[in-house]
Structure formats: C-alpha cells, structure tokens
Assembly symmetry: D2
C-alpha cells in the first residue's frame, strides 16, 4: 500500500484541521497517548503519614468549626500526580475526618458510596438511615450509596477516622446526586449494636429468613474488629502461612460489600512480606497496627499506624512487616471486574 | 363440538387398548389423577417422638453392630403415607443415627447430600473430606454431595443425632452414585475447630480473600449453636416480635447451604405461635428445645425435644410454644425455586 | 473394631424390628439398594416406531372423541421398565397427540411444563395464554408451566405431534397444580406469526427494549423449522464437521427455554455418527428426518422419521446416520445442573 | 451547636491551609461542587451533521493517508463542553472512520471496546480475531475489548461509518492496554457470512450446543440490517404503537452485547415522537433513515441521515419524526447498572 497519491500540502492539511475544529472534530492521527501499551496511569505512589494526618486534623479541629462548609471536617488526600484533584488515586477519594467531643456532622446522602475505617479512638457513632453504628478501632463502617448518614460524638474526646469514597468514578460517570437530610437527635443511650448488626451480624452463614435486603449493597453495615481479628488469627492458624487476607463481604448475597469498592484486610507476621502484585484499578491502604515497609511501584515507604497509602492502577505493591502488620485496603476491583477490565499480575 | 360421528363399539375400544398396550402406550383419557387441581401429596403429616427415637436407637445400639450393613446404625423415619418407602416426606430422608462410645462409621461418599442436626449430646466428630467437625447440641453439620464423610466417637458415651438427606430427589432423578472411602485414623486430639470453620467461620461477612470455594455448596460445613443462639436472640431483640427465624447460608456466595436443601431455625417464645403457612415441597422439622404443639394439615401434635415432624408439600403448618421452642427444619425449597415450582400461601 | 459384644439373638432382633415398624421406622442396615455405585436406573432403553404411533393415533382418532377424558387425544409412551407408569423415561412424559380436522382441545393450564415437537403435517395452532402459535413440521412450540394452552385444528386434515412434559419431576416434588380455562373462539384468520414471535423472534440477538419478560421461561414460544434448518446448515458449513447440534434458548436471558427441560436438535450427515455419550438424567429423542441407528445402552434401534426414543439416565447413546438424520431431543439436564447432580461421560 | 469557641484568625487558617498543601491534603470545606444536587454534567447536547461528517471525511481521504498516525483515518467528535477532550459525551468516544478503495487499516487490539454502525455504503469488511465481517448499511459490527481488528476495503469505492468506543470509561479507570497485531492478507473472496454469524446467528433463540463462548461479550459480532428491519416492523405490527425499540443482545447469555455499552435502535413513524426521557450516563445516537427533530436538554436539532447526536447524562431527550426515523444509539447504561448508579426519569 503506497501513499504517494496523497499530494497534500501543509496548507491543505492546515485548512482541513481548521475546518475540523470549526465542526468540533479532531483528527485521530494527531491525538497522541490515547491508546497506550500499558495504562498511562494518572496518580503516583504516595503515602500520607498517620502522624501528620493526626496533627493536622487536630489543628483543623482547633481552628475550624465542623459546619464551616460541607458539614464535615475532612482533610482530603490529594495525590500529587493528579494535577490538584482531591483524590488519593484516580478512582478513589480518601480522607481523614475529625470530630471533636459533642460535635455532630449532620445528615446527608449522596450517590457516591462511602466507608469509614477507624485506626484509633472510639465514641463516635454514625447513623445510617437512622440506625446508630458505634465506631471503634479496627471497625469498618459502611454508608452505601444514597443512604442518609450523620456522625455524632456524644463524648468529650475527639475522634478521627479514614473515609473512602468512590466519588471519582461516580463523578466520571456524571452520576453524582446529593441531598441534605433531617438530622436526628443524638441518642447517647443507643443500643450497643446497630439494628443492621442484630439482623445480619449473628454469625457466619446465619441470615434472617424472609427479611428484605437492600438492592445493591451489604445489609450488614458494620464489621467489628473483634470478629476480624479472630478471623485473621484463625486463617493464619489453619493455613500455616505468614500472612492472612480477608475480604469483607455481603453476608446475604455474597460478594463485595458495595458494587464499587472491595474491602480487604491483611495481616503480615513480623519478618514476613506479601508477594509483589498488581492489578488494574486503584487502591487505598491504611495501616491499623504494626510497622514495616510498603513498596509501591518504584517507591518504598516506611509505614506506621494511621498511614494512608495510594497504590495507583497497575503499580506493583508489596508489604514487608517489621512488627506484625494489619493493613486495611479498599480497591475498585468490583468495577473493573463488572466491566471486563480486571487484570492482575504477580511477581 | 359433537361426538356423534364416533360410532365405536366397546369391542373396537378394547381392541385399540389392547394394541396400545402391546406397543407400550397408554391412552391419556383413561389415566386418572395425573393432573390434579392441587398437589395429590404423597405422604401424610406425621411426628416421630424424640423419646421413642432415643429408646429405639439405644436398643439398636445394644443389639446391632454399626457395621452390620450400610456401615451406619440408622433408623429411617418412614412416612406412613408413602407405601413403605423409607422417607420422612416424599422428597426428604430423615433418620436418627446412633454411635456407641469408641465406634466409628467408616468413610463413604454419595451424590445425595446429607446434613446432621444434633439435639443432644456431644463427643462425636464427623470427618468431611478429612476435616474433623466436632458435633455438639444445636449444631448443624453438612456433608455435601460427593464429599467423603465418616463419624468417630472417641469417647465412652454414645451419641445420637438426626440425619437428613435429599435422597428421594436424587433417586427420582436416577442420579445416585456411591463410593466407599479409606477411613482415617481417628484423631482424638483434633483441633477444637475444623479447617472449614477456621477458613470460613471467622465472623459475619468475613471471608478469606483468594481462597477457592467448592462449586456448589457452602464451604462452611458446621454452624455452631452458640452463634445460632446469639443470632436468634439478637433478632428477637431488634424485631420486638415473639418469634425469630434464621436461614443457614453460604457465607461466600450467599444463598442456601446446598442446592437441594434449605436449612432454617425458628425460635418461638412461650405463649406465642407462628402464622399458618404452606409451600410446595416437603419439610422435616426437629425440636431442639421447648414444648408446644405443631399443627400440620389436619393433625395436631404435642411436641417435645428430639421430635421429628414431617410436613408434606402444600400442607399448612404452624408451631405454638408452651415453653420457648427452638425448631430446626429442612425443606427442599431450593429445588422448587430453581425449577420455577415454588408456591407459598399464608394463613 | 469388634462386634463380639453384640450378643443379640434372632428373637431380640425380631423384637426390635417389630417395634421399629410400629413406630414407622426402618433399620437402614436392612434396606438394600438405596445407595448404589452407579444410578440404579428406572426405565430401559426403548423406541416407539413412528409408523406405529401414526397408525394407532389415527385409529384413536376414528374411535375416540377428543373430549372423552382429559380433553386431549393423547397416547402416552410407557417405558416398559417403569412398572406401568405412563412415562417415557423416569423423569419425562412423552406422547403423541392427535387432532382431527375441526376439532379442538380446550384450554387448561398446569404447573408441569410442556412442549410440542411436530414431525409431520401442519394446520393446527396452539393458543398459549391466548397467543395463537401455528404448528408446522420441524417446529418446536412451548407451553410453559402455568400458561393456558389449547389446540385448534381449523382445517380438514388431522394432525399429530409429540408432546413432552416434565410431569414426572413435578409429580415427584408434589407440586402439580391444574386449572381449566375458558377456551377462545378459534380464530382461523389468525396472524401468520404469534405475538410472541413478533416481539421476540426478530432475529438473533435482537430483543425488544423495555418489554417485560416472563419470570422463568423463554418469552419466545415457537422456534421455526426454517430458522433451525438454516442454523444447522450454517453450523455444518462453519465447523466442517459431519454433525451439528443446536440448543434452543431463551433469547432474552440466555439459557434453556424452560427451567426443567433442555431442547436440542442434531443433524448427522449420511454415513456419520455421533460420539457415544452419557449423562445423568433422562432424555427423549424424536426423529424428524432421515434413517439410521440409535444405540442406547445395550440396545440398537433402526430409526426412521417419527420414532420416539427413550434414553434413560446414565445410558450411553449414539446416533448413526444412513441418510441424513435430524433428531430433536429433550432432556432434564437443567434440573440436574441446578441441583449440582449433572455428570457426563464421553466414549 | 455553637462555633464561638473557634477563635481562629485568618492567619491561623492560612497557616493551616499552607501546611495542608505541603502534606498533599486539601480541606473539604473549601472544595466546592464535589457533591451536587444533580449531576454537574460535563459535556453539552450537540449534533454533528452527517453532511459535514461525510464531506470532511472525504477531504481527509484525499489529503491524509490511512497510516499517518494511529493507523486509522478517523475524525473524533469532540463535545464542545468537554474542554477539548476528544469525546462525544464524557463517557463515550464517537467518530467517523473513512477508508478509500483498496486501503486497509491494520490489525491492533485494545482494552477499550469498540463498535461500528454503518449509515451508508458497503464493501469494507472488518476482521475480528481473523473472522471477516462484511459491513453494510444499517449493520452493527462489534470489536469487543482486546479482540484484534482490522478493516479492509477491497473495492474501488470509499466507505465511511461511525465508531463508538468506551474509551473515556476505560481511561478513567486507568485500564487502557494496546497491542499491534499482524494484519492478514485481505481475503476478497471471503464468505458472505462470518464464522461468528454462522455459529451464533442462526435465528432467534438458536445457539450452538457445547460451543465455548467468549467470557464477557456477545459471541455474535455482526447484527444485520435485514434482521433488524424485520424485527422493527414486527414490533410495530404487534404493538400497534407508532414507535418500536430494540436492544441488541448476547444470544447465548442474554443481556447487553458488551459489558460497557448498550446498543439500541428505534423506529419512529412519520408524525410520531418518543416520550421525553432521561437517564444517568451518556448516549450517542446516529440517524440511519429519515428526518425530524431531536430535543436534547434545552436544544432542538433538525436531524437527517448520518447525523450524530450527543446526549449527556441526565439530559432529557426525545425524537420527533417528520419522515419515518430509524435511530441507532449507544449508551453506557450497563456500567451504571452494574455499579448501582442507574437512574431514569420519564416526561
């Protein structure tokens, strides 16, 4: 195939390009970087130190009222590779939220789904559609898409936790909806377990018969550290391996807790490490216990409790434990899987 | 439409019928009872008393060795409406199994799935594909289709439990396979929890990440009474109702524990009763705790711990508690649902 | 393990057995043949000759009015291995139905699902929930569970076809329901295609947007020979093989046309044969075109158009074509698959 | 709740913000527009005229060889509301591709899925993993994620068609992979139907038995206008309505043709219109036949064959036919549905 017949001059081409632009068209052959051999990943490996997050959150607690804007005192992790977008990786929002004693963050709901993971403290409870979920260290609390949620701190001590949202994905799909709610009187004499947990948290494989469940997320809204710790211990015991990994799942339908986010927790014994691994889609990890190192792409981070780590798509990552590590993480793997775009690679 | 043109004589008809029979054909118009307005249910409401079952099982234990035939000392509940077939209802086998101290029932496997529910005692453990599952009062233990299973009683005391199998369904489908296995040395120093439970029983909604699960049944093979009891208590607490009902489910995929049998447990507070209810397909119930009455169709049975109750298809049933009742039951509802044949009716 | 401690006498044992019988119990160890190494298949390989079926159906047409009983003039294939049960194999009813000119078989519905396969003739139409489906040679017509159906023959010529029902399975599950309907005036000027076909039969992969479909069966109720023939031809062409095999499927949800029966058609070129194959569950085959032989288990049948062949569970079967064979068949494979009981074996 | 205790000065706040920025954090309360009451939709209603697209494509054909860059002579529709991004709506790429006689666009594959819809001409064929798919007016041709595809024009006449890709979604998920392939010798004596069509295009509900299908897209890769036209005609006939709508579906599994794009076609009779409708997620429509008007959001476009119309997320849209309209469209509805983010609103 020869192209000799194409005797176009620069002026011809310029004229064509000009006219294309006038008609809101662009020539593909001038567009570079659309289809890359491997993902041209937005975002970079990064780590926010737990110590910094705590200090800055406390300072924000001193200086800024909870209702100054957005009704939440939240510091968003902004991946330096994302050109100022307030996202930890290109598909996940991660942040720390801080609530002083006797403060409340009032009710609202939004189509982006959120979850909270608590790395220290206790005392706040989150109401999800009116159901009070106490929050404590190591707990995972879900506020699924379009559920009203509010946070109350009836005690004196401030509390901080990590928020993760699928906001970048929902925004990219032009599907963000938001509504303010009517906050309830904080019930400081609330039951020790939420209704959600009393219905759906009885035990492994025990679900209420004939009780309606929500259409697209786990009906169990809180996963308690005592259970998680026991399950990690049991898995290490039965496998004889030096690390264990759990997935948080919907106890009724099976599968991930929400259609956009997969939640996992790993325990790595002191001296051990996980195999290097990568997958399409982003991940945010958060250290609950222990110290060690996280390799992400070409970066190596010393890690400690409260650290938040950004693992961009297709970046190799690996944890090495100096002391026994418990690391919670969230990925958008269910999105990639649903769309036939999930790839993994080991080593 | 007139039939006057049909001038057939009795002799003509007889000749036709004779010739049809010779060709292995039958005239539909002479077949009665094939398509009935409502199910022409095989089997009748029935109740086997726990006291009788215990005494007869003990006597069999005195008289008959475990290896006399079938390698199991089992008394099968034979519904008097089933013309001698050894089934509790037309689609479910129910039986009591009895193992003296230091006896074992050797390994085998079969395509019919089985489960064990324990109404008293402890000390036996069942090995499922080599995984030792201790059996105790109130526990449900699964031996799914085509898993090797054997029962060991390392202690001195005899033990008895209820077996339920989907054998009638599998037999009706001409799909029974059976194989003997190599029994393992009884490990009386077995771990307090099975590998199955350590992998899959960590807590509600907590499942191992990346661990293969079996293709068509729950990977969790034992459901412990302590969990069940706590879940029933929590459900009564949250619902404020006078009865609670749980379904045993697959913690990884959701749904029933096995494709042919649904397992449920109900707690009915003293003085309360359940609503009358019926469904297509059979059910076998077993009283764990408490006393009261069971209405099944036109029959009313006084019930007590250890009783086994047959609820035939489309028979109304209802429990009334004199003292607090805990009733376990098994139905073939997953079969009816999968085939589009499940119907229910309340009241 | 020794049994010397069991010093029971015959009298002891007899006494126990007597008492067990009084309590509606049977000792497992005296029950033989419950759990067999391979399926103890009820039913035997068999073949009903198309010629016989036609002659006997015609004779029944002469002698017996359609409304003599059951409102259908149907001759049921009775497998000689099934002790008189009117079933072709233990899980499937097969029969020929015969309608003289100007006769009608009035409307009714039942929970057992039915299908019609036509090996000769035309002119009758079946109304399914009022939708008229013309029937012609090589067509498959569905009357799914609980749909009203009636057959009209507005012309002068009689017509015959094969009926297959899942009745044995539904009866074994005690789930047979039946209701008579109000037959419609036969509309002899009916549209050439049913509403079902106009909605769902547009072409491969083309389905109406936003049109509700029935919950558990294909919304397409007729599969026309012209399409089937073309698809078989195309498959032979593309594969280069000497036989082709199609599955009839639900065009909207995919999968089998009904939850209890899988419909397939095979074309085997003259001189070719299919590989020997067996599977759990029963099958009924019906020859549309061609001649050859069918091996089923230990039997070999010469086959010709209109023949109906019973393939019991786990029996090896194979077709050999003398002239090009088109063979339609129905199996209960979806039932076995749904229950985790499907096994196959080749060769 | 009072905020009087917060005595922060501007300087304090500035200091905090400065330190947050240094730690790659942003205060949520200063981020505006993240959570909007309704989607803050990127992109605007727009229409590219078929006449313009044809003329500009022809001019590009005269001036630019097919291999100048990207190996495709493609003009990308650039929604003027997307700040220069070459996308028709924020989640879909749409473009026209132009191939002169005797040109070829060589083989490559990419994780973004593509489809082609042809509004005029014929003669080109697309090879998908080596299977030649002839392209003609009104046809839909799929090149699913990660399938090699190339376009050959063996004739003298040039040809143009519309490409739609899910590229914006795959790019947002950082999951773009690309690979060049080895182009095959153009086989101008190719079979009139592709292997894909001979295997899977036999007729409605007819699928090959036992033939493996691809994991996450329709195995049928071409949907022919003759079938589509017949199905639209039949639907209008059966419904008695003035418009008909089809969804292109996977003939084996049911559901959409690819996990990221829903393909539909509507016929609106002259003088009729569709109901106003909106949904989350974007849509690209393309006029095949007829003239009329498209209302999209606040805009009204006169439409004619070859026009491409951008319908952004949550924008109301409606077609009004002056002469009978056939309009093909693609949306990302399967993505929104899979993630629990699909909302619709009529009127």
């Amino acid at each position: 195939m020869t192209t000799t017949r194409f005797r176009s001059t620069e002026a011809d081409i310029d004229g064509l390009y000009h006219e294309l632009a006038e008609h809101e068209l662009q020539p593909l052959w001038e567009l570079k970087g659309l289809l890359t051999r491997e993902p041209a990943v937005a975002g970079t490996p990064f780590r926010w130190r737990g110590d910094d997050l705590r200090k800055l959150a406390e300072r924000a607690g001193d200086l800024v009222p909870v209702d100054r804007g957005g009704d939440r005192r939240v510091l968003a992790c902004c991946n330096p590779g994302l050109a100022g977008a307030p996202y930890a990786v290109s598909t996940l929002w991660a942040a720390v939220q801080y609530l002083r004693g006797h403060e409340m963050a009032p009710a609202h709901r939004h189509s982006p789904a959120a979850l909270r993971f608590i790395t220290e403290g206790e005392g706040v409870f989150t109401l999800v559609d009116g159901d009070p979920l106490p929050m404590g260290k190591g707990d995972l609390v879900l506020t699924p898409s379009w559920t009203f949620h509010e946070h109350h701190n009836p005690g004196d001590a401030p509390m901080m936790w990590m928020d993760v949202l699928d906001l970048p994905v929902v925004a990219a799909l032009d599907a963000v909806f938001f509504e303010e709610g009517a906050s309830e009187e904080a019930d400081t004499a609330t039951a020790p377990a939420s209704a959600s947990e009393r219905w759906f948290g009885g035990g492994p494989g025990l679900v209420p018969a004939g009780h309606e469940t929500p259409p697209s997320h786990s009906p169990l809204l809180a996963y308690r550290w005592a259970d998680t710790d026991r399950a990690l211990t049991a898995q290490l015991d039965v496998s004889g391996a030096s690390s264990a990994k759990l997935r948080y799942s919907d106890p009724v339908r099976g599968g991930d807790v929400m259609p956009t986010m997969r939640c996992e927790i790993q325990r790595i014994e002191a001296g051990a490490s996980t195999a290097a691994f990568r997958q399409t889609g982003g991940r945010v990890a958060c250290v609950l216990h222990g110290t060690g190192r996280a390799r992400v792409g070409e970066r190596v981070f010393d890690i400690a409790p409260g650290d938040i780590i950004a693992v961009p798509s297709w970046s190799r990552w690996q944890f090495l434990a100096t002391s026994r590590l418990d690391v919670f993480s969230v990925s958008d793997a269910p999105v990639l899987e649903a769309l036939g775009l999930f790839r993994t690679s080991e080593g």
